[in-house]
């Protein structure tokens, strides 16, 4: 813990969320149950929108080359938390972050952090697909082009590899120069994944990537993510509990800006440690 906690709020948190067993009191300690190293970590992260506190002391460590799902009711702070790792919250007026946000062992708030390089390392896919008004090729090669990758051959190679990884290559190989806006919703979202992959990141943050898609497109995205897990650390915010159960290795349950429970997905869904987690995953609220 880097800075002293407010004892009152700590008490409150414990009074609300402490499990009878007290199993999640120190979630960071539990993570090394698997052989995976920690890729992302947060220590005592508090986040404020002006006067409003959105995150209340989140301690969490997420393993590399695994899919971690962040679940919880609307407004619980899971998207805000996700955006801490590539510092997308910087752009919002009046946001203040306390605590440590650690990516691959380094605090992202260190003054010598190169924001552009951090964001290349930590790719992001948004809830609403946001292809740029350019061709498919230009969309996928956008990140590399902005960081100075030149040469049609090199870019073509990157575009093809990224589109293959995102499972879109076969569908668009004949029309790379067409506008990306002509693609279907599911294709657009996979294009956004390919666009993030073209930066050759290590970590992929996905903010409800399938919430606006039909079930078939959703299945396709999930399939893609399971393949990508081999080489990328994936953090996915989702409203869809079945989705978390299907693809995530580990799941974290957020509520009212606090981390309630973090565990193996299977354990979480079969034997939740908190009564409130159980209520949420069985659909009694949320």
């Amino acid at each position: 813990m880097e800075f002293p906690r407010n004892e009152d709020s700590m008490d409150l948190q414990q009074s609300v969320f402490r499990s009878p067993q007290g199993s999640s009191a120190n979630p960071t300690g539990e993570i090394d149950a698997t052989h995976h190293e920690t890729a992302l970590e947060s220590r005592g992260v508090h986040l404020y929108y002006g006067e409003t506190q959105a995150l209340k002391g989140i301690d969490l460590a997420m393993p590399e080359r695994q899919i971690t799902a962040l679940i919880g009711p609307s407004g619980c702070g899971k998207s805000t938390y996700l955006r801490c790792f590539n510092r997308m919250n910087d752009m919002i007026e009046g946001v203040r972050v306390e605590g440590q946000v650690i990516v691959e062992g380094l605090d992202v708030h260190r003054p010598d952090v190169d924001l552009e390089r951090l964001r290349k390392r930590v790719g992001m896919v948004f809830q609403k697909s946001n292809p740029f008004p350019m061709s498919i090729h230009e969309n996928v090669s956008f990140g590399p082009r902005m960081t100075g990758v030149r040469g049609r051959g090199r870019l073509d190679e990157l575009v093809e590899r990224s589109l293959r990884q995102a499972d879109l290559w076969e569908e668009v190989r004949e029309r790379l120069d067409d506008s990306a806006l002509d693609l279907s919703g599911g294709q657009q979202q996979r294009l956004c994944i390919a666009r993030a992959l073209a930066n050759e990141p290590a970590i992929l943050l996905l903010d409800e990537p399938a919430s606006a898609l039909d079930p078939i497109s959703t299945a396709k995205i999930e399939e893609t993510l399971l393949q990508l897990k081999e080489s990328y650390t994936i953090i996915i915010v989702t409203h869809n509990l079945q989705q978390a159960a299907r693809i995530a290795d580990r799941t974290a349950f957020f509520m009212l800006g606090e981390l309630v429970e973090y565990n193996d997905t299977t354990t979480m869904f079969t034997n939740p440690g908190h009564a409130i987690t159980e209520e949420y995953i069985t659909g009694r609220f949320g």
Binding site: M88, E116, F132, C192
Partner: protein
């Protein structure tokens, strides 16, 4: 149910004579119709009046009761204002354009229809477009070559050949003038250098005097070298001019007899011989000449090319200045400035600037650009020419900058709207891919805001093209000696004064020595200005539509 009927009667049943909203709808529809009608009338009046300038009217020969003969084009007909109130038969009079100004001192005369004994339109009547005294009307009764020999005027071919020879001489002389200027250019430059040296402070020093002496020698040598060739050119020119003055045609209109030297003949039109198609062809040719030739006779005759050129160049320069200024301002205000009191004040200032009367901008341009900036430029770079100002007087540059300032609020407002319409998701997407704020602006935001920027430019151009008041203070003139663009280095002469369509319209219709004769020309110029603005707008709209198509499909 007993209660059901009373319940229904509250909203079903007889209404007043009119549905409640109907009178309102009628009034709004009528207002719209009135506006449309007025727009149509505006276009119609301008077009019809302008048309008269190009369309070759028939030439009438009118014999009055007393035997006098008048020749000219009937341009108007109106009832004579009656003195007594009991008159039931309206008496008309016609307005005849008789031309021949050097004899009649007026181009027009009114003739009572009651006094007309005969009115015919013989085929041999001509209109002679002249470079002096306006049009002449009459019948060609004789033509003389430069050696005094008569031309056989009964043979159309001989007469046309004769007129064509005159045209050739004039073309030859224009060529010779150009050639002479070109030949003399090195000498002119030397003389200019000598001139500025003599007026500079160094002229007093011994080295300066030495330099002047050397330069004078060079000038003398150069003049001697070019002398014979220049003289030869001058001789040729002189010869042609003499021949043009000595060859002449003689016109008779009624009792009037006019000698027109070929030097003054621009065109001879047998208006009454023209069929419909040749009339159309003639009108088109007149229109083209109108657009691409210089004005004559204090702007009351000839074309409007310098004014058209000046207007287009002015608008182009204004666009070049206003777009970067407006876009950069809008980008700062939208993308970088922190929201707060300062930004709100800046916004209000920009909006209010759009409502400032244009003459105020003219005064500002005169005080700041012309006197302050122009004066400073003159002192710094053109000190040798002072006290004659170079940039310290109204000119193309200052006028276009003044217009740019006048129109910058429109561009700022439209660009801001364009920028604000760019979806946040594109900005987020770009930044999340590791691009910098500047790259996001350049690659994503500005291209997407392009339709907005172009909308601003369209509005700016529309406003600038028609603006006259500020130009009168900053450089528009009745008659500019030369275009702001020509063949001498540096080709674009932004310090020069220029002509402008809007100012030209005012000048021709209010300030010309012959307002009545120039009226159709004022309308023709108005039509050109109108078409120019429409053309500029259409171009920008087409470009904008193309850009917008690129963004279709994105739900913004």
């Amino acid at each position: 149910m007993p209660g059901s009927e009373t319940t229904h009667s509250e909203f079903v049943g007889a209404k007043g004579a009119l549905p409640s909203g109907l009178p309102g709808i009628w009034i709004t529809a009528l207002a719209t119709l009135a506006v449309l009608l007025m727009l149509g009338a505006l276009l119609w009046i301008v077009a019809v009046n302008a048309f008269g300038w190009f369309w070759p009217a028939r030439i009438s020969e009118i014999v009055l009761d007393d035997g006098t003969v008048r020749v000219g084009e009937i341009v108007a007909r109106e009832p004579i204002p009656a003195a007594g109130k009991e008159v039931t038969i309206t008496v008309y009079r016609v307005k005849l354009k008789t031309g021949n100004r050097e004899l009649t001192r007026s181009d027009f005369m009114w003739i009572d229809e009651a006094a007309i004994a005969a009115n015919s339109q013989p085929e041999d009547l001509v209109r002679v477009v002249r470079s002096e005294y306006g049009d002449a009307f009459g019948r060609i009764v004789a033509a003389y070559r430069d050696d005094g020999a008569q031309v056989d005027i009964d043979s159309p071919r001989a007469l046309e050949g004769f007129l064509e020879t005159g045209e050739e001489w004039r073309r030859a002389n224009r060529r010779l003038e150009k050639e002479r200027d070109q030949l003399r250019r090195p000498l002119t430059r030397l003389e200019e250098r000598l001139d500025s040296l003599e007026r500079s402070a160094r002229a007093g020093t011994p080295e300066g005097a030495q330099e002047i002496a050397t330069l004078e020698d060079t000038v003398a040598v150069e003049a001697k070298r070019l002398g014979p060739r220049l003289d030869a050119l001058l001789d040729n020119h002189e010869g042609n001019a003499q021949r043009l003055l000595q060859s002449r045609i003689v016109l008779v209109a009624g009792a009037d007899r006019i000698d027109v030297p070929l030097a003054n003949v621009i065109e001879v039109v047998w208006s009454n011989r023209l069929g419909f198609l040749s009339r159309v062809a003639h009108a088109i040719r007149e229109g083209v000449l109108f657009l691409f030739t210089e004005p004559r006779e204090a702007n009351t005759e000839g074309g409007i090319f310098p004014a058209l050129f000046g207007t287009v160049l002015l608008v182009l320069l204004m666009s070049v200045a206003v777009v970067p200024l407006g876009v950069v301002t809008a980008v700062y205000m939208t993308e970088y400035a922190r929201p707060g009191l300062a930004l709100r004040l800046a916004n209000q200032a920009v909006n209010n600037l759009a409502g400032v009367p244009s003459i105020v901008f003219g005064m500002f341009g005169l005080a700041f650009f012309v006197y302050q900036v122009g004066g400073a430029v003159d002192r710094a770079f053109f000190a040798d020419k002072l006290p004659t100002p170079t940039f310290g007087t109204g000119g193309m540059l200052w006028a276009s900058l003044t217009l740019a300032l006048l129109t910058v609020p429109v561009v700022v407002v439209a660009t801001r709207e364009g920028l604000l319409a760019v979806p946040q998701s594109w900005r987020d997407g770009s930044l999340a891919l590791g691009s910098t704020k500047w790259q996001t602006l350049r690659q994503i935001i500005l291209p997407a805001a392009m339709p907005g920027i172009l909308t601003g430019l369209i509005l700016a151009v529309s406003r600038a093209a028609g603006e006259v008041a500020p130009l009168m203070l900053t450089g528009a003139v009745k008659m500019a000696p030369s275009l702001p663009v020509d063949g001498t280095v540096p080709f674009l002469h932004l310090q020069r004064k220029f002509m402008h369509l809007g100012f030209h319209i005012y000048d021709v219709s209010m300030q010309s020595p012959n307002v009545e004769a120039a009226k159709p020309m004022a309308f023709a110029t108005t039509l050109v200005l109108l078409l120019l603005v429409i053309l500029l707008n259409l171009t920008a709209i087409v470009v904008r539509r193309r850009l917008r198509r690129a963004y279709q499909g994105q739900v913004v």
